[in-house]
């Protein structure tokens, strides 16, 4: 299958409905995603950089015991090796996080912690450091009619464009990661949060969902949550569907200029790279990168 995403063409043997199908399937892909059968790392020279990450030169491995192994090779290839019994939904859930982000970084694309969503035809970016604010705020923003484009990361491409998965977006509005804005203000008392976090009768199925975004695909027959996998794996899918917060809609890609760079520079002190191992990001100064893009 051929897709386009983050301004790139890709070929994948794993169906990824989050990406747009390619306009020109015959064109040479920029990177490929394919299944393999391997254990990470595959190099004896690899250095472990985190509990699940290994690196050797331009190859990064992401090993999640019991679920899958991923290998990102020089920004051109992602190989995945599912553990026995692990389905494609689970693989895709993980693949769309660090593996794709790492591949983008290897291609010189800045990947920032953030989310993108649409309310009343306006597209918003929510950027900021890791923590509880972002996902809660996105959910709060979308309590009415809205849709989430991405709840993991925002990519900043080499052409002064913000790349959100399969589309470039215009930027009529933005929200700081701190959650303070004229229109949107999220607050909960500490006691309320304490109470919300205590469960007298815990069981995995007793929770509606931890999902911040859910996609209904294939006419609602199958489902996937972008977060809160517990709702979908090994549990009641009807409950999962009921728990889905927002319906996925396909939007026409938007290719328009925006003033997003100025906003990013303004906010750079509050931004955070997506979960890229520092050894992969190396000495790359992404704030300087953002400033240089603005100057150019």
């Amino acid at each position: 299958m051929h897709y386009q995403a983050y301004g790139l063409r890709l070929e994948s043997d794993l169906p990824i409905p989050e990406f747009l199908e390619a306009d020109h399937p015959a064109a040479q892909p920029d990177f490929v995603i394919k299944k393999g059968n391997f254990s990470s790392p595959r190099s004896s020279k690899a250095t472990q950089t985190g509990p699940f990450t290994f690196i050797d030169g331009s190859i990064l491995w992401f090993r999640i015991p019991g679920l899958a192994d991923f290998e990102m090779n020089n920004g051109r290839e992602i190989r995945y090796s599912p553990s026995p019994g692990i389905d494609n939904d689970t693989i895709r859930l993980i693949l769309l996080g660090l593996p794709v982000a790492a591949l983008l970084v290897a291609r010189g694309i800045t990947v920032l912690n953030g989310a993108a969503f649409v309310i009343a035809s306006n597209t918003y970016l929510l950027l900021g450091r890791r923590g509880p604010t972002r996902a809660d705020l996105v959910a709060s923003c979308l309590s009415g009619d809205g849709e989430i484009l991405s709840d993991k990361f925002i990519a900043l491409g080499p052409e002064n464009r913000v790349l959100i998965g399969n589309r470039r977006i215009e930027m009529p509005g933005w929200i700081e990661g701190c959650g303070l804005n004229d229109k949107i203000y999220l607050t909960r008392s500490r006691k309320e949060l304490n109470r919300l976090s205590w469960v007298q009768d815990y069981s995995p199925t007793s929770f509606p969902s931890a999902a911040t975004v859910a996609y209904l695909i294939d006419g609602g027959i199958s489902a996937r949550a972008d977060a809160g996998a517990s709702t979908l794996r090994g549990l009641d899918k009807q409950k999962a569907l009921l728990a889905c917060l927002y319906k996925y809609k396909t939007l026409e890609p938007l290719y328009r200029d925006s003033g997003v760079l100025q906003m990013l520079v303004h906010l750079s002190a509050k931004l955070d790279l997506y979960r890229i191992p520092s050894s992969l990001a190396g000495s790359f100064d992404w704030r300087d990168h953002i400033r240089s893009l603005t100057r150019s």
């Binding site: 019991g66 809660d136 959910a139 949060l193 919300l196 976090s197 929770f207 931890a210 979960r275």
Partner: protein, 276 residues
């Protein structure tokens, strides 16, 4: 020395106070440490730390999957600990019918478990959760109790509590991890002696003068003074975190009916700890 240690407790049992004591001891400073800077390391409920350390989007995983993955994260982290490293946890070591693999981990050097009279815990917990003491007693009796976000999408990692009795026994009877059990009441009445035990257990160099200073810098008068002057980041939106030091008042104020309920549910473990 000394490696990676859990500072474990059932909630509202003095964990924060223990952190203040240890941090003041380790810093050996000339002034009390700010209560808003009690960073003794990540706590096991800290999802943001887990995300940052592991590269995972932890919301993508089930609670049970995450427990297994956390074990690897803590092992990897512990392998890089050259100095004393203390991490708060409210999780039971064994709950829901199985050992908590994330905590009961060969890479961990040990645990200091602080336990408090459950009558005082019930009163504190009621205030913390803004529920009645009766409701707090119900929670403390539930084998299936857990801390886990329900209304918040990005909240703490699931922490299995179980009942107060099960929580305590899981730590006191730990087989694969060295545990020093400390009664909150002993820490309150004999802080020098008790803190000295903790210091020695965790392999920190013992110094009587430093113990004395840490106790003084972490006294409830000092903690309350700081909270009054500058607030406490871990505090509720209203009320005060450091309310009463000894817990005797809480026990004294508890109605006989409530006390009977607690003794009925937890009498065996209370007797084991000398509370009855």
């Amino acid at each position: 020395m000394s490696g990676f240690f859990w500072l474990a407790s059932y909630p509202k049992s003095g964990n924060t106070w223990l952190r203040a004591l240890l941090k003041n001891y380790m810093l050996d400073d000339d002034a009390p440490l700010s209560i808003n800077n009690l960073h003794t390391g990540f706590s096991t409920g800290d999802r943001a730390w887990l995300d940052a350390c592991s590269g995972l989007d932890t919301l993508d995983f089930t609670d049970d999957e995450l427990d297994r993955l956390r074990a690897e994260v803590y092992s990897w982290y512990a392998s890089s600990c050259s100095d004393a490293d203390f991490h708060k946890t409210h999780e039971a070591l064994e709950a829901f019918g199985c050992v908590n693999a994330a905590l009961d981990n060969p890479a961990i050097s040990g645990a200091v478990y602080i336990v408090r009279n459950p009558i005082a815990v019930a009163s504190s917990l009621a205030d913390f959760l803004d529920v009645s003491v009766d409701d707090a007693v119900d929670i403390m009796a539930k084998e299936s109790a857990a801390i886990r976000p329900v209304g918040a999408y990005y909240g703490p990692v699931r922490q299995r509590l179980s009942s107060w009795s099960r929580h305590v026994e899981s730590w006191l009877d730990a087989r694969d991890i060295g545990v020093l059990a400390v009664r909150y009441e002993d820490l309150a009445e004999n802080p020098m002696e008790t803190l000295s035990k903790i210091v020695r257990f965790t392999g920190l160099e013992h110094c009587t003068e430093r113990v004395e200073k840490a106790v003084r810098f972490s006294g409830f008068d000092e903690l309350q003074r700081q909270e009054e002057n500058a607030g406490f980041v871990e505090m509720h939106s209203s009320g005060r975190f450091f309310r009463r030091g000894s817990g005797r008042e809480k026990i004294h104020d508890t109605t006989p009916e409530i006390a009977d309920r607690i003794v009925s549910a937890h009498g065996a473990v209370m007797r084991r700890l000398g509370y009855l």
